[in-house]
């Protein structure tokens, strides 16, 4: 659709309708953006200005990066940032590998055991195992307090698997035939033919995994000792709880970190999502997801 293309049959919209729509859109955009602006501004304000204004600032009068410098001098947040980044990168690679191989095998007709395995996988969607058995399993496997406990229990997401499989199935059969005639085995077909054609699907699924790993905190709270926590769990304990939501943080001694520092941690946890978001956004428009959701 080209910009501002009103079909000939459509009547000219009334100015009141136009105005109402414009107001609605502005409200939607502001509702999303203002909270982000408040945390960014508060993190860049001086602690005194934040206190004088009652705990928040919409626009700092004298911006300072002191809060960020305090954070990156070392300590809990710096370490947690490293943990989050590591788990996100390693986890995404593991997840992508296992999702792609399984999705590829399940997308080819006539695999030994393909049908039962597909049913087995889809059933897990209907009946998740539950918190308690999962926790006891991780414990029995000796994964407690290891970073593997954040990755292996959530290695494959069924939705991502279905998206990937659907994409592989949409690749024309002739391409597989041609590759086979050239003498390529299945590894070769996957690596040299299928994957280069699947960049969009790989990007979407990879980014979904990365976002999920980055945002995850519950498993860390369940499986890890506090000195191994990723950023989101630190944020949960010191910021969400520090503001009076839970009392879990009171023994840790960081509760009284200035509001500016708390908001700076929030910003640091949000920025990677904002950075990869344009790439995600690029692929939504390609219809990778809409196609998958419909099927």
């Amino acid at each position: 659709m080209s910009a501002s293309a009103r079909p000939a049959w459509m009547e000219k919209p009334r100015p009141t309708t136009q105005a109402a729509k414009a107001v609605a859109l502005v409200v939607v955009v502001l509702l999303v953006c203002v909270p982000f602006l408040v945390i960014l501004s508060t993190s860049l304000a001086s602690p005194k200005e934040v206190v004088d204004n009652g705990g928040w600032v919409l626009w700092p009068t004298e911006p300072t990066t002191q809060a960020y410098r305090d954070i990156f001098e070392g300590g809990i947040v710096t370490h947690a940032l490293g943990v989050s980044a590591g788990v996100t990168v390693v986890g995404t690679l593991f997840s992508l590998f296992c999702t792609v191989t399984l999705a590829y095998a399940l997308s080819r007709p006539g695999v030994f055991g393909g049908r039962p395995v597909l049913l087995l996988v889809l059933f897990t969607f209907l009946f998740p195992p539950g918190i308690i058995p999962s926790f006891l399993l991780v414990k029995e496997l000796g994964l407690l307090d290891s970073y593997g406990s954040l990755i292996f229990p959530v290695l494959i997401n069924v939705f991502n698997l279905v998206v990937m499989r659907g994409f592989f199935q949409s690749i024309p059969e002739e391409l597989y035939e041609a590759a086979r005639l050239d003498g390529a085995g299945d590894w070769r077909v996957l690596w040299s033919v299928v994957l280069p054609l699947s960049k969009a699907a790989l990007a979407v699924v990879g980014l979904f995994y990365a976002v999920a790993y980055w945002n995850s905190w519950f498993y860390a709270s369940l499986y890890l000792e506090s000195d191994h926590w990723p950023l989101q769990q630190v944020l949960r304990t010191y910021v969400v709880a520090g503001s009076g939501l839970t009392d879990a943080a009171t023994s840790e001694g960081t509760v009284n970190a200035p509001q500016t520092v708390q908001m700076a941690v929030l910003v640091i946890a949000t920025v990677p999502i904002l950075l990869i978001y344009p790439f995600l956004q690029k692929y939504f428009t390609k219809g990778v997801l809409t196609g998958a959701i419909k099927s």
Partner: protein, 326 residues
């Protein structure tokens, strides 16, 4: 392994014979079995994951029928039959959690469900695609923000030292007590879900709207139908299947309301307002150490939930829609 390699080199050597119909068929057959073996190997890591972490964990649900003692392990703990379930059915706190879950789910269906639909209809009427794409980008964004950050953002904006109360105070109005107030908690969670997921929820409606044949609108307009009648007679019938399907699937999933969202805020408002089935399981089992009892509650939810999803899917089929499970 050696056989596989020999077979491969063999295939390459006799490539010309492939043009012969018979030769092609025999080659293909050998090829098929090797393919099947490689594909099976490719399947193994993923299959192993599902077997261990889903079916292995699923098997761990036996402790719902046991008095689980960590020292004795899953198999060494004594059986108690349906004892855990009997206790659960007599536990008033459990039923409070069930009621809270259903109540929050109903609030979400009534107040959240129409929002993505309305937003999608609004976006769909925008003919200026630059604006449309910008608003879409902004509206999808919160879906990718973690619940921890969403809860913190709401504190910062609606909390007693937040932006809203700051403005109300400056204007000389009385402040509102939203965050940490048990009475306001359920509407607050619905507002959070709307903020986080309403934009993302438009995707499926926008996809359905884009499928509507433009000529139907044109024909209706030529027949004299104004915007409202076109909406009523063309747009709505076209997207009704999607609306019905999503509504049925949401009803099937009625026992699930955001676990992370509730867990993050439960302690601030207390279990009376915020305990849902999932947090009940978590607090009884992980926090309280009553693993068998908690697993029983979790299993109860899993079984009823699966039955509801299955039934919802059947209803969707009955209505002629394509369900999630074919």
């Amino acid at each position: 392994m050696a056989a596989v390699v020999r077979e491969r080199t063999g295939t390459e050597a006799v490539t010309p014979s492939r043009h012969h119909p018979n030769g092609a068929r025999t080659k293909r057959k050998g090829f098929q079995s090797r393919r099947s073996r490689t594909l099976f190997l490719l399947m193994l890591p993923g299959l192993g994951y599902f077997l261990v972490f889903h079916y292995g964990a699923l098997a761990g649900n036996v402790i719902a029928f046991k008095d689980y003692v960590p020292f004795d392990g899953i198999w060494g703990s004594p059986w108690v039959g349906l004892g855990n379930f009997q206790r659960m059915f007599q536990d008033a706190e459990f039923w409070d959690a069930v009621l809270n879950t259903l109540w929050i789910a109903v609030l979400q269906i009534v107040f959240y469900f129409p929002v993505p639909l309305a937003l999608a209809l609004l976006l769909h009427t925008l003919t200026w695609s630059t604006v449309r794409r910008f608003v879409q980008s902004v509206a999808y964004l919160p879906h990718f923000i973690s619940w921890v950050i969403v809860v913190a953002l709401f504190q910062q904006v609606l909390g007693d030292t937040g932006m809203l109360n700051g403005y109300l105070g400056d204007a000389g109005l009385s402040t509102v007590d939203i965050i940490g107030n048990p009475d306001a908690f359920k509407p607050l969670t619905v507002a959070q879900v709307i903020w986080k997921d309403a934009g993302w929820g438009t995707i499926i409606f926008l996809a359905a709207l884009s499928q509507v044949d433009e000529q139907q609108y044109e024909a209706a307009a030529i027949d004299g139908a104004g915007p409202w009648r076109r909406f009523w007679h063309v747009t709505l019938p076209a997207i009704r299947p999607v609306i019905v399907l999503l509504l049925i699937m949401r009803l099937g999933d009625i026992l699930s309301v955001g676990f992370e969202q509730m867990l993050l805020q439960r302690d601030a408002v207390g279990p009376e307002a915020a305990e849902i089935i999932d947090t009940f399981v978590y607090y009884q089992g992980i926090v309280g150490g009553d693993y068998g009892f908690a697993a029983a509650a979790g299993l109860f939810k899993g079984v009823i939930g699966a039955l509801l999803v299955y039934a919802a899917n059947k209803v969707a089929h009955r209505l002629g829609e394509q369900g999630v499970y074919k």
